[in-house]
């Protein structure tokens, strides 16, 4: 049976359509993906993201350890800040993308994708040095995301002041009277928060946010809205836009790779890719209304296959379908036309600058450029 988050009963009571996602029974949508997505863009949406893995990594050498297994420079990370990261294999392929939160010099929280949690834990354990401990806190601590341009003003009463929190900053604090962590991070392109709350009290926090915000347009939002929002913001999804056969530069995430920070797993391979240039590049595509292309569809130019769609959806906010695609060669530019397979037919698509939509987040494409 699939795992359930502590909010499962609330999702059912809210009428959610549940789907399996990374081994978890999660809400796909409550009422309508469109309405939930537009709530995120215009007011705020509330997501249960407790399926994501949360690992506590603690010890004198915790920082050095993490720095050795990820691409970004953890040594530059200050307490109270989070950093977007890739964990790569020796070949530079992406094992997972994750966010590292530094609570104190020796105390870190690592948030990983649900579907990769067990694989990540095994990989990290394999490289874990003496004196560093790693605890999987996924079940003890729940994670909810409150995302949208009005998220800050719509936080419920008895919540700590968040106005001093910078993008990708986090702090200990109260949310609706419950002590937890408040992080100004997200996966929608909008401003907003990810809230770490003890599982025993997450239901109270969830209810308080919805009760307080409903009249202002806040909706509970499911994975469907989350996927649409992240794709408009061109935020990559592991398993769709990247995996172990795709390297950081190909995925357009070279900004997370700090070759100069010293040795780390995958560094040698990534240095070579940087020197020669990636063989494939991630591009954005815009299509005519109705022409939705999906993960795995071929991208063609002058009749020849040049790549593959990695994610595609209809953008309710922009009013037309959008897609990310991994294509060969460096020659495509914004405005160029390619063809994409849509239900077996070659359909024109225009290469589009990313992100498709820049929301209220300080930078829609690049969480934690530090």
């Amino acid at each position: 049976m699939a795992n359930r988050t502590p909010l499962y009963d609330r999702h059912i009571a809210l009428g959610a359509r549940m789907v399996d996602f990374g081994g978890w029974d999660m809400p796909q949508q409550y009422t309508s993906i469109k309405d939930e997505h537009l709530a995120v863009r215009k007011a705020a949406g509330l997501f249960d993201v407790s399926h994501m893995g949360r690992l506590n990594v603690v010890g004198e050498a915790a920082s050095d350890f993490l720095n050795h297994v990820v691409t970004n420079d953890v040594a530059q990370l200050q307490p109270g800040h989070a950093q977007y990261n890739l964990m790569c294999n020796e070949a530079g392929g992406i094992i997972d993308d994750l966010v590292i939160y530094k609570s104190a010099d020796t105390d870190f929280i690592v948030v990983v994708n649900a579907s990769n949690r067990e694989k990540d834990v095994a990989w990290l354990r394999k490289h874990l040095p003496r004196g560093v401990t790693m605890d999987d806190k996924t079940l003890d601590v729940s994670l909810i995301a409150f995302q949208g341009p009005r998220a800050e003003e719509l936080l419920p009463s008895k919540t700590s002041d968040t106005r001093h929190l910078a993008y990708f900053g986090f702090t200990k604090g109260a949310i609706a009277g419950v002590d937890g962590f408040i992080s100004r991070t997200g996966y929608t392109g909008e401003d907003g928060f990810e809230l770490f709350v003890p599982s025993a009290h997450v239901g109270d926090v969830w209810d308080a946010i919805l009760d307080h915000g409903r009249a202002q347009g806040v909706l509970p939002a499911g994975l469907g809205a989350r996927d649409a929002a992240r794709l408009e913001a061109a935020l990559r999804l592991w398993g769709n836009d990247m995996d172990e056969s795709i390297n950081a530069y190909e995925a357009g995430l070279g900004w997370t790779v700090k070759l100069e920070k010293g040795d780390f797993i995958g560094r040698e391979a990534l240095a070579k890719v940087k020197e020669t240039g990636p063989g494939r590049r991630m591009v954005g595509l815009s299509l005519q209304p109705g022409s939705i292309t999906r993960h795995g569809s071929a991208v063609l130019r002058d009749g020849a296959k040049i790549g593959t769609v990695t994610s595609g959806t209809h953008s309710f906010f922009l009013g037309h379908p959008i897609a990310l695609a991994l294509v060969e060669g460096p020659s495509l530019r914004a405005g160029d036309t390619v063809s994409v397979d849509v239900r077996g037919r070659e359909t024109p698509a225009e290469v589009t600058k990313l992100p498709f939509y820049r929301g209220s987040a300080h930078s829609a494409t690049a969480p934690a450029r530090n």
Binding site: A228, I292, R294, H314, F316
Partner: protein, 125 residues
């Protein structure tokens, strides 16, 4: 109002004289999620029962639409071009998809509401 009959593939049919109206069931629209596009045949197209006549695209996936009856398309719901979400909001009313001039009788294997509900719940999607 004529009684609504259902196919195993989640289309519904009502018949008025020799004209059948075809749509997709409430169960089907809920499974599909927000409909964003329909690729539909032109009037005059001959349909055989079980034939894929079009595609319905939701935000989640594209699905084929299957003819629940034999006949000739006499009209398509033009409103769905601009408002495909009518299939979600009113699947048995404003969200109808095709009108078909029936050839012969209604196929005997179409189900009534009770049988369809049982079959849909048992079979999922």
């Amino acid at each position: 109002m004529a009684e609504r009959r259902y196919s195993k593939t989640h289309e519904w049919v009502t018949v008025d004289g020799k004209t059948a109206t075809v749509g997709i069931s409430d169960f089907a629209q809920a499974q599909l999620g927000d409909v964003v596009f329909l690729d539909l045949p032109k009037p005059g197209r001959k349909l055989g029962k079980g034939e894929a006549f079009g595609v319905i695209e939701s935000v989640k996936a594209a699905s084929d639409l299957y003819a629940p009856v034999d006949g000739t398309v006499s009209a398509v719901n033009e409103k769905l071009t601009a408002n495909p979400e009518l299939v979600n909001s009113d699947p048995y009313g404003e969200g109808w998809i095709l009108k078909v001039d029936l050839k012969g009788d209604l196929p005997a294997d179409l189900m009534d509401e009770g049988a369809y509900k049982e079959s849909a719940e048992a079979g999922g999607h």
